[in-house]
Symmetry: C2
């Protein structure tokens, strides 16, 4: 047993922190999967037995998850799930409203919807000539009123301009593109990063400065292969889980 | 132009912050893609023209990326890339050493490698009877010596026990499993979350408390469909980008 290699007070503390993390990781997934009946966690004694650790380790594990905003202590009830996380699949290219229709209503605060000169990198990614005009759309996306993500979208002009007359408040850009262009979207290239929220983005997303965000860059193509939609998305880490199935 | 709707000092500040974010998102991807020759960014005047914004907005954009640890100012040189991010593909199930062999040497600090009683949730996920024993391996994974991720791995006993005699310091668990079991891995279910680092995990990963981490839960199956390897992985957000191709 490597854990028992040292018994100094210092390594004792590390040991407890390690065990707490270990339990917290398993419990986190149970929380996200809504595995606890009525959203109430088992008591500390039960969890200590479940993970074969001390009650102090379990307390530390629960404190980690409380700091992440997933659970809270309610006097007289116990430890309850307060997380409101939804899942977004990475295996199929879908808009938020399509993906989350079972969870409620997606609405968008449209912060900008206009034609701009494309920065050269954006033009390159969209395979447009330098100095092309593109449509820029900036939306704060809400699920049942609560901020979920801040999306910055660049669209090729012929694809984006028809969208400026459409219902950007209630509709996904993907479905609007397919409707107005008459073409199907095909593949998308996605890059995911975990980034701390800067002050201004934090304010917009209604999270503390520094909160962990999932930042996504997504370049979507028509089925023909032409890239048409370049998005930079900041998702609240406490509200979204990305899921994927991978093959060896 | 929605951006020009208001001209109060307050909205003026919001405007600059919005434009800074917009530029920062595009530049971030250039940094991650190593798009700048010699790792030196163009000067502020060039970038201001490129993004059609003021130099103050560009300064704010660069400050955002500096705070993320991606770039820094070097007197006499300019703004240089200091990020050391590597890419991990989500489309194919691969170990870190397999994925990153071009970037350097992966080594693992083996913090635990032992047989434990499986928490009931872990037993369920691995489709094992309650109270089964499992192999637990905890590794701090380094790329060229620098911490990249902290991996907590639960393995079915028959699959994991042979690994305890193998070279866990230098080898991926995936390749060790395939070698010792004689079976190929098939699919994996992956869940990704952005989470702020707790104090202890931050210390182990050598990042500030609260740093954004990409937390991955991954359940890998043999090609036969049997789940054998359940992992909880904390990746440093400043060192890893996850990439995927998605189909509509």
């Amino acid at each position: 047993m490597l854990w028992a290699m040292s018994s100094s007070p210092r390594s004792e503390r590390r040991l407890r922190a390690d065990r707490a993390r270990q339990a917290a990781d398993v419990i986190r997934q149970q929380v996200v999967r809504r595995a606890f009946p009525d959203g109430v966690l088992p008591d500390e004694r039960f969890l200590a037995a479940e993970f074969s650790v001390s009650r102090n380790s379990i307390r530390e594990a629960l404190e980690l998850l409380r700091e992440e905003g997933l659970i809270d202590r309610v006097p007289g009830v116990g430890t309850v799930v307060v997380a409101d996380k939804v899942e977004h699949g990475l295996n199929q290219l879908m808009g938020l409203a399509e993906t989350l229709h079972e969870h409620g209503q997606i609405t968008n605060d449209v912060r900008a919807a206009t034609v701009i000169r494309a920065p050269s990198v954006v033009a390159q990614r969209l395979q447009l000539p330098a100095d092309s005009s593109v449509v820029y759309v900036e939306r704060l996306r809400r699920l049942n009123g609560l901020p979920l993500s801040l999306d910055l979208t660049y669209l090729a002009l012929d694809v984006g301009e028809p969208l400026l007359d459409e219902d950007l408040v209630n509709r996904d850009i993907f479905s609007l593109i397919e409707q107005t262009s008459g073409q199907r979207l095909g593949t998308a290239s996605v890059a995911l990063e975990a980034v701390n929220a800067d002050l201004h983005s934090a304010t917009v997303l209604e999270v503390p400065r520094g909160a962990a965000l999932m930042v996504v860059e997504r370049l979507s193509h028509f089925a023909s292969g032409r890239p048409v939609d370049l998005e930079f998305i900041r998702m609240r880490g406490d509200r979204l889980t990305m899921r994927a199935e991978i093959c060896r």
